[in-house]
């Protein structure tokens, strides 16, 4: 419909997105939604939506970061003592794993954009692999906490050195489990999303004309990585 009317209006130079370009060609693309004039406009819109969603993620975690900061201010000594019970080498290892996964994610997006579906799938699988390693390491860390009774809130039952009658220790582990737990849920969601676009890539659904989902999942994955970059020093490197 729009292709018949576009001719009536010469493109306006001031228009944010004039009705120019090879309209007939883009309408052949099955991914082109009816309410967008061009594929480029559609891509940019999706990207704005994703960035806004990431902003909500940052603010969600922001609430927890703020709560952590206030409680750390309330219990500075307890938080330092409690953090000695976290396994710093494992935390560092996970940091490296996620940084590598962000790198493979970038390569996957690049491969998708340059019409190399096989490479895209390979890099996506490597990213998923990193995510699984991360969760595996997290599993060992969590098991260790469970064994020591270093649990949130009323489940806190540590019998070692952290029972000096302060609420600070259980509060520390409450926040530890809430924040790493919420982050872990995001890793799980990320694995789901990465698998979904890997399947779609292997079906040949993406090309340089349309690879929006790969790009957006990439953005999401980088945010998940970035949050961990903040979580690691926050919990493992307190002095």
């Amino acid at each position: 419909m729009s292709s018949s009317t576009v001719d009536l209006h010469p493109p306006d130079p001031h228009a944010p997105h004039g009705a120019h370009g090879d309209v007939a060609a883009v309408h052949d693309d099955p991914h082109h939604q009816h309410h967008f004039t061009t594929m480029e406009q559609q891509f940019d819109t999706s990207k704005i939506g994703m960035w806004l969603f990431l902003a909500t993620e940052v603010l969600t975690f922001g609430g927890l970061f703020l709560g952590f900061g206030l409680m750390q201010n309330r219990y500075p000594r307890e938080f330092v003592e409690a953090h000695e019970h976290l396994q710093r080498p494992l935390g560092a290892l996970n940091t490296v794993v996620l940084l590598v996964s962000s790198f493979t994610m970038v390569l996957a997006v690049l491969a998708a954009r340059t019409n190399q579906p096989k490479k895209t799938v390979r890099y996506l699988l490597m990213t998923i692999g990193c995510a699984c390693i991360f969760l595996g390491v997290k599993y060992f860390e969590y098991s260790h906490k469970f064994e020591e009774g270093l649990l949130p809130g009323r489940f806190y039952s540590h019998q070692g050195d952290l029972i000096a009658g302060s609420h600070g220790y259980s509060t520390f582990f409450s926040f530890y489990f809430m924040m790493t737990g919420l982050h872990g849920i995001h890793i799980l969601a990320g694995i789901g999303l990465l698998s979904w676009i890997a399947v779609r890539t292997s079906r040949g659904e993406f090309s340089n004309a349309y690879y929006t989902p790969v790009d957006l999942v990439g953005l999401f994955w980088h945010l998940v990585d970035l949050i961990w970059i903040y979580l690691f020093p926050l919990y493992y490197l307190i002095t």
Partner: protein, 551 residues
């Protein structure tokens, strides 16, 4: 393209298309699975109006409970304090989370925002539908929580009461969590739509002011709502795991909950009022037949209200034990809110000055808005002033102020917008005579109900109390009588609007002579909104003579 420029005309419509978005397909499934923003808007409209009815019934019950301080009706005690607590909690929670927050953006905004910017749909139609279903799920959860275990915390869920009381507080907070995501998705969708889907030729300062208001609202929805979401999760975890953040017995800080809560919920009242102001900015120029005065000032004031909304939350905590310095700073920042609000009011009045004003129902609502919002806004300055606030905190003065802004502001604007766009949405004209009668009843009943509460509050009547001293008896009774007048006006509105669907005359494309793009398509619009892509060729609200002669 000539028809696209028929601003200021009422007739000369094209023949009405046989197929429009309402009758293109007719199965129930075609509605439930629709991606059409107009249909989603209509479904939202049905949903929020149902919530409004429920919240309104609870409001009438709250007022009825307080008719006399013996809580007697026909010689019998009919209500207990617990029941009364549930009445006002359900009234508040339903009205805030199920009605006012989604009311204007998700229902009217959904229908007219793409039309006003000449787009075929919102940016993400599927997300739009998901937002609606999240609202439905949240509504079902909220209503279930009242059936399985009544919630009596008030809509603010203050700790420590909310972490210790029985009842379905957990389910209620999760309902609000889900509703929050519904709201986030709406805001995210509208921001993206405004950025990328404006008609060719429509720059930012060519947009109708309604769009500026909805855009500013979207910014708050996206940035503030996640904080509420995490706050409610923390509240739930505190109840279940005792994580030690809000409960002082285990080292938490109850005031911290108030900070978290109001960091969202203060911006949230701007989620409620900004769309109301946005509607008024459409109604005033249309029914004054005059170009809006101070277009840019109104646009900027919407954005600055959105930004200011994030830095004034502490005025809810003046007596909650925050530091004196913080209290003084928050008080000063709160006064700043008066500036953009005043800018809007004076610009609307300047637009009306020497305009060719006609008093159709939407315009009556617009004028009612200016009166009531001004009262609500000025009393807000009283409450922002520290020394006065200490006296007025938790009295009926606050209740009255809040209702003058939220009901006298947002709901009145919503009703104005509903009447204004009713012909566009339904293709039918409502009865103007009944509209004017109902508007008058709403205005009189509203002032009876709530102005009396200013008086009670300034004399020290605390809010939320079930029992009260004899000296307040006449004023309480008067307020309750007012609620009956108000209720009558609203029920009358419901009846004549529903009747218009069957008996109303067919609406022309542009019944009010509006200049914005939604009036350039048929009433009701076709599924793809416009026969041809409209192109903006004049600024919004261009009522200068040359435009009229062009037609």
């Amino acid at each position: 393209m000539e028809h696209a420029l028929t601003s200021g005309t009422r007739i000369g419509d094209r023949p009405r298309p046989v197929k429009n978005y309402l009758n293109e397909t007719t199965t129930v499934w075609s509605w439930m699975s629709t991606l059409d923003h107009k249909r989603i808007g209509v479904m939202y409209l049905v949903g929020v109006l149902t919530a409004f009815l429920m919240g309104g019934v609870f409001a009438l019950l709250v007022r009825l409970s307080l008719l006399n301080n013996k809580h007697m009706l026909f010689g019998k005690v009919w209500v207990t304090a617990e029941t009364y607590n549930r009445f006002f909690t359900l009234h508040g929670a339903i009205m805030v989370f199920l009605f006012i927050i989604p009311a204007i953006p998700a229902s009217l905004g959904n229908v007219v925002l793409p039309l006003m910017i000449g787009a075929k749909d919102v940016a993400f139609p599927r997300l739009n539908l998901a937002s609606f279903y999240l609202w439905v799920i949240g509504a079902v959860m909220a209503i279930s929580s009242m059936v399985i275990g009544a919630v009596d915390t008030g809509w603010t869920f203050y700790t420590p009461y909310s972490t210790t009381t029985d009842g379905a507080v957990g389910l209620m907070t999760m309902a609000v969590f889900v509703l929050g995501f519904s709201s986030i998705f709406t805001g995210l969708n509208f921001i993206s739509t405004v950025h990328k889907l404006r008609a060719p030729g429509m720059g930012w300062f060519d947009m109708p002011l309604f769009i500026w208001g909805i855009y500013s609202t979207g910014v708050i929805q996206v940035l503030a709502t996640p904080v509420l979401a995490i706050t409610l999760v923390l509240l739930l975890l505190e109840r279940v795991f005792q994580i030690g953040i809000f409960d002082s017995r285990i080292g938490g800080d109850p005031v911290l909950f108030q900070h978290f809560f109001w960091f969202y919920s203060h911006p949230a009242v701007y989620i409620m009022i900004l769309p109301g102001m946005a509607i008024i900015s459409e109604l005033i120029p249309t029914f004054s037949r005059k170009t809006i005065f101070g277009y840019r000032a109104i646009a900027y004031s919407s954005v600055s209200l959105a930004l200011l909304s994030f830095i004034v939350w502490g005025h809810h905590l003046f007596v909650a034990g925050q530091s004196e310095l913080a209290t003084v700073v928050f008080s000063a920042l709160t006064f700043l809110v008066a500036l953009p609000s005043g800018v809007k009011v004076f610009n609307w009045l300047s637009t009306m000055y020497k305009g060719n004003i006609s008093f159709e129902t939407p315009m009556l609502y617009a004028i009612a808005f200016i009166v009531l919002f001004t009262i609500g806004g000025l009393t807000g300055i009283f409450l922002g002033a520290l020394s006065v606030d200490v006296h007025l905190t938790d009295t009926y003065f606050v209740v009255a102020h809040f209702h003058y802004v939220m009901m006298g502001g947002t709901v009145i604007a919503f009703l104005g917008g509903l009447h204004y766009w009713w012909p566009k949405i339904t293709g039918r004209m409502y009865s103007e005579k009944w509209g004017r009668i109902a508007t008058s009843l709403v205005f009189i009943g509203f002032n009876m109900t709530f102005f009396s509460q200013f008086i009670m509050g300034s004399r020290g009547m605390p809010r939320r109390y079930f029992n009260y001293l004899d000296q307040y008896q006449p004023i309480h009774a008067f307020s309750t009588y007012g609620s009956w007048v108000l209720g009558t006006g609203l029920f009358m509105t419901a009846i004549y609007l529903l009747a218009s669907l069957k008996y109303g005359p067919l609406a022309p494309d542009n019944p009010w002579g509006g200049t914005t793009m939604e009036w350039q398509t048929s009433s009701p619009p076709i599924s793809h909104n416009f026969e041809e892509q409209p192109v903006l060729e004049h600024e919004p609200y261009d009522y200068r003579p040359k435009t009229v002669t062009h037609a």
